[in-house]
Structure formats: C-alpha cells, structure tokens
Amino acid sequence: MTEQRPANPLEMIAYVLSQQIKDGEVVYIGTGLPMVAGILAKKTHAPNMTMVYESGAQNPMPGAMPWSVGGPATWRKSPMILEMAYSFGQLYNGYVDKAFLGYAQIDMYGNVNTHMIGGDFHNYKNRLTGSGGNNDLSSLAKTLVLVGLQSPQKFVKNVDFITSPGYLTGGNSRKEAGLVGGGPIAVITSAGTYDFEPESKRMRINSLHPGVSPELAQLASGFELLKPSGEIPVTSVPTQDIIDILRREVDPRGVFTSMPS
C-alpha cells in the first residue's frame, strides 16, 4: 500500500505512544496499542529498547504483530523467558523504565477500571476482563503511560471500580497508600496527550492533536481537564515514512490500528 492517507486516530495514538520510549529503555507492554507502539519504536528511533511482557517474554526479535501477550511473537527468539511472578518482580526491583497500559475507564487522577461498567460489583451493565497485569504494572512501574480512546464514557468523574491505582484521591495519597511505583506520567488518547499537575495530581492537557480544540477535548471528558499556562502545543504527527513503517511492517493487517467500522 502506498496510500498517502494521514494517520487515523489509532495510528496517531500508536505513534505518539512510541515517542514516549527512549532508546535503551526497558518497557513493559500491555496488550493492544502498547504492542504496536513498542514495535514501532524499535523499528524507528529506539532500536535498543527492550520489550517485556507479563507472560514472561523478554526482548523478542521483531516479527509479526503479536495476537496475544502470550503468543509466539512476544517471545520470538527471546534469549530467555521468565515465569510470571519473576516477570512482575522486575518492576519492583527497578529494572523496568516504563509500562504501557490500556483502560476501559479512567478518572482525573489516572485511576483505571478494567473490571465492570455501570452499577455495582454484582449488578453491572458489563463485566470486563478484570485486572490481568494492569494492577501490577500500575502499582509497581517506575513510570506508567496509559493509552486509549477518549470519550465521556471513558474519561469519567469516578471510575466504577478501581482496578489500578493512579494518584488515588490526588496530592500525596498514592504515596501514603504505600505504593512504590511512580504512577502515571502521561495519558495518550485520540484527542491529545495529558500529564498530571504536580501538586494536585490532576490530569492536565499537555498537547492536543491537530484539529482538536481545548473545548472539543473537554467535551470528550466527564471531568474538568486542567489546562497548562500559556499556549497549548499541537501534538506532532508522524511523518509519511513512519506511517509507512507502521502500515507495512508493524501492523500490516491492521489488527490494532484499523478503525472499527
């Protein structure tokens, strides 16, 4: 495919997320877009980064897009594979630089829900997957980057269940709870990128994608988004070269980066 289409929202997320990775870092990869971002970074600006998966896989050779965090592509010619308990232990012990995770709901303090939507624990609208490694990574990772689509259903005032702690109720509450990981440093969405204001630990606009106004971003959120002082930067978009690599080499079947019809 040699189409010159600009990046679709999912491709944009994958690109922006990949930019969070510095060469040489160890990144713990959740399922979905984090896999795309990790592989894209490795094929572009961060060839010496190491991907780690909860199934225990370490540093696979680049190949096909994984269909699962336990699939063969996540341990393709890995020099070694750790048991699950030891794999998470790497986070606690300081060997992982960043973790990438998705969310079903997220609140202004970066608390994440992947458990259930609507109602309560027994009488919900939809039960979701549960934690998997989401809580472990959020609890332990030195820095955490959360990634997903943005809508008022996903950016909510209160998550229906705290699967994974962000900054809990803000301020020092995360630290006081005894959590050793640093908490979320960024949220990458279809509208923009966000960080957390250092005192209150509330989510703050860091940049907005081309064509997205602060008003539009706010419309797609169930809580008030803090704004930075001064002008809001526009997120830089991928070059055509990078889009080509993403489409041809990273996710050619569009498993994670084709828009749902």
């Binding site: 063969p72 010619k77 699950m84 027994h122 989401n134």
Partner: protein, 376 residues
C-alpha cells in the same frame, strides 16, 4: 471458630455467607496440602493412564481446579473438555489468566470463580463470563491481579506461609479478595503498608507439556507462566504431554525440564492436547475458531449450548476437533508451519499469516478452518 479469619467486610462485599467460608478454606489449607503431598507415591513408577481415567480418578466434584498455560497458549483445553464430558460439577476455578473457566460454567462444571483475567484480549470481552457471574451461574469468591495471584502460587512453591506484596494497595480489588490482608511491614521504621498474600494450594491442576517421561518429569518449551509453582502447590497433578520420552532423554538433556516427577500423580500421552488453543513450537492458534467462540458462542444467552454440541458431543476428543472443525491434516501442516515461522524456527519470508477473520455476519459461519491457502 474456623481455621482462618476472613475480613467480614470483604465477605459482605462478595456476598459470601459466613456459613460458606468452608469454600474458601481449602485454598489456604497448608496442612491438608502437605498431607496430600506426603501421601502420594514418591517412587519413580510408571504413571501413564488415559485422559478418561485421569479425570475420573483425580478430578472430583467441588475441587479447586487451576487453569494453566496462558489462556490459549499451552493450556490443557482438551482435558478440560473431558472434565465437562464426564459431568463433573461444582468446581472452583483459579488461575492467572483463568480464561478457560468461562466455557465450563454454563454446564455446571465450574460454579465458583477466582478471577484475575477472563477474556481473549483483542478478540473481545467474554460476554458469557459477564452473564454467568451476574446471574449467579458462578459465584466470584475472590478478585486478583495476575501478579498477586502468581505470588500466592510462588509462596507455596517456596515453602512459606505467604509473602508481602506491594500490589493491590489502594485498589478496589483488595475489597473483593478475602484471602489477602493489608498489613504493615514489620521491619521498617516508618509506616510501610504491604499486602500479605498467603500461599495458595489448589486441589488439582492439569498441565500440558511438550514432553514427559513415564514418571512425570516434564519439559516445557516457551512461557512457563505459573505452572511450575502450581505443580508444586496443587494436591493432585495431572501431566498431559504431546509425547512421552524415555527417561534417558532427560538424563541426556535436561534443558526445559521444569516439573519434577514427585509432584505428579498421572501422566497422559495427549498429542494436540492444547487445542482449541496453541502449543509453542508445535501448532498455531486456530484463529477463526476462537473468534467464533468469542463472537458467537459466548455472545448470546443459550449459544453456549451449541458450543457444547460442537466440542463435547460432536467431538469426542482433540482429533475430532482437528478433523471436523479445523480442516484435518492440512491444518496440522499449516499450523506447525505458522507457529515455527512466527517463532523464527522456520524461514518466515513469504509465509502468509493472512486469514479471513470470523465475524458476526460471516458468509461461512460454520467454516472455522482459518481458510489457509498458502500451503497448496
């Protein structure tokens, strides 16, 4: 007074009556696990039996069954189908992930759930599981994260009563788990909240491996996940193996031999025992079959009856799955080729991973063969 103290608030959150706490006790009961481990034959004897005999002998109504492998990677799914086939009822299921319990619930095989993850990642959330937990077909006894549950199994393998974790703090998971307890690190001068994770002792586990000898020493290629710890913890251990090798094979080359024979009660020769999932190095994930499972069989109330017809009644074993659902010998050849190419043990240049995804308006909904064409 019972053997263990459970947080009353957590029991109330989970709607577990105090009279029901015996359902929780066995998972923590070190004494009975140790007794079970002590009682089994410790001699290296030939433990080979059939899968029918193994399930009949070692899986009992009400047991805590552990899921192994990683959902659809090296998971003994064909053995789980045999559990359903034999009409065993009232199992508790635990594992991280514990995805396989979903299809055992509608038939009363599994009635109690320890939950860390159920679903098939991007293939979709598991609506059957969502429905069954809501309508009481299964009762959730505890919520976990992968890592915290892995620590519970690992504590059992290490031979300690439990360990202190830094996971689950500040989350709602801890409010829905009667087994874990927030405590302070006793050696720190400053207040240091931790979560005590007790050693976990499931009743029975089935672990699918690449090779075993007749005594039960077992070799795994690819991710071990939690299986070595689970094998050490479980009261009863069934090994299903793609092939049985002579004991001399492991004496000559012990690379990848991770389960010692003393843990093992039964050894079953079971080629393709991970179907309808995949097996590292040997066969690839049947993608359309799984997509149909997530998007059709689990989707609507009652559709799981069709799942039962397909896998339990119309297929008597994993060979029938290959012949009747996947496309027979061509599937075998292609799935080995795909997995080896993805693992880069075969040349991958020119190997076509494309297939037609199974969708809800699929023109050929009964075709679950992955419609591979590249091989011929």
């Amino acid at each position: 007074m019972g053997k263990f103290t459970y947080n009353k608030e957590v029991l109330a959150n989970l709607r577990i009556d105090e009279k029901e706490t015996h359902l929780l006790d066995k998972l923590l009961d070190y004494e009975s696990a140790k007794e079970a481990h002590s009682k089994k034959s410790h001699a290296a004897v030939d433990k080979r039996i059939s899968i029918k005999e193994a399930i009949n002998e070692y899986v009992k109504d009400g047991d805590i069954l552990t899921d192994t492998g990683f959902s659809y990677v090296r998971t003994p799914i064909a053995a789980y189908f045999e559990i359903i086939r034999q009409g065993i009822k009232g199992l508790q299921n635990i594992g991280s992930p514990a995805t396989s319990q979903s299809y055992m619930i509608p038939f009363g095989t599994v009635t109690h759930t320890h939950w860390s993850y159920c679903g098939a990642e991007m293939r979709g959330t598991d609506r059957n599981m969502s429905r069954c937990a809501k309508n009481g077909k299964t009762k959730v006894l505890s919520e976990w994260s992968h890592g915290s549950m892995a620590q519970g199994f690992k504590a059992a393998q290490l031979g300690v009563p439990g360990l202190y974790s830094k996971q689950l703090l500040g989350s709602d998971i801890i409010k829905y788990n009667p087994f874990v307890r927030q405590v302070d690190n006793p050696i720190k001068a400053e207040k240091d909240p931790c979560v005590f994770i007790p050693a976990l002792y499931p009743d029975v586990t089935i672990i699918h491996v690449h090779q075993a000898d007749k005594f039960g020493n077992a070799k795994i290629y690819g991710p071990i996940v939690n299986d070595v710890a689970i094998a050490a913890a479980a009261r009863k251990v069934i090994i299903t193996a793609e092939e049985i090798v002579p004991p001399s094979a492991f004496r000559n080359d012990n690379k990848g031999v991770v389960i010692p024979f003393v843990y093992v009660d039964a050894v079953v020769e079971m080629p393709y025992g991970a179907l309808m999932g995949s097996m590292p190095g040997l066969y690839y994930w049947p993608r359309r079959l799984w997509e149909k499972a997530m998007r059709h069989w689990t989707y609507k109330e009652g559709a799981m009856d069709e799942f039962y017809e397909t896998f339990i009644v119309n297929c008597k074993d994993q060979y029938d799955i290959i012949d009747k659902l996947l496309g027979g010998s061509k599937w075998l050849a292609n799935s080995r080729r795909l997995t080896k190419a993805e693992e880069y043990d075969n040349e991958d240049e020119g190997v076509d991973f494309n297939y037609k995804e199974w969708t809800r308006d699929d023109p050929n909904p009964d075709d679950t063969t992955d419609q591979f064409k590249a091989i011929y």
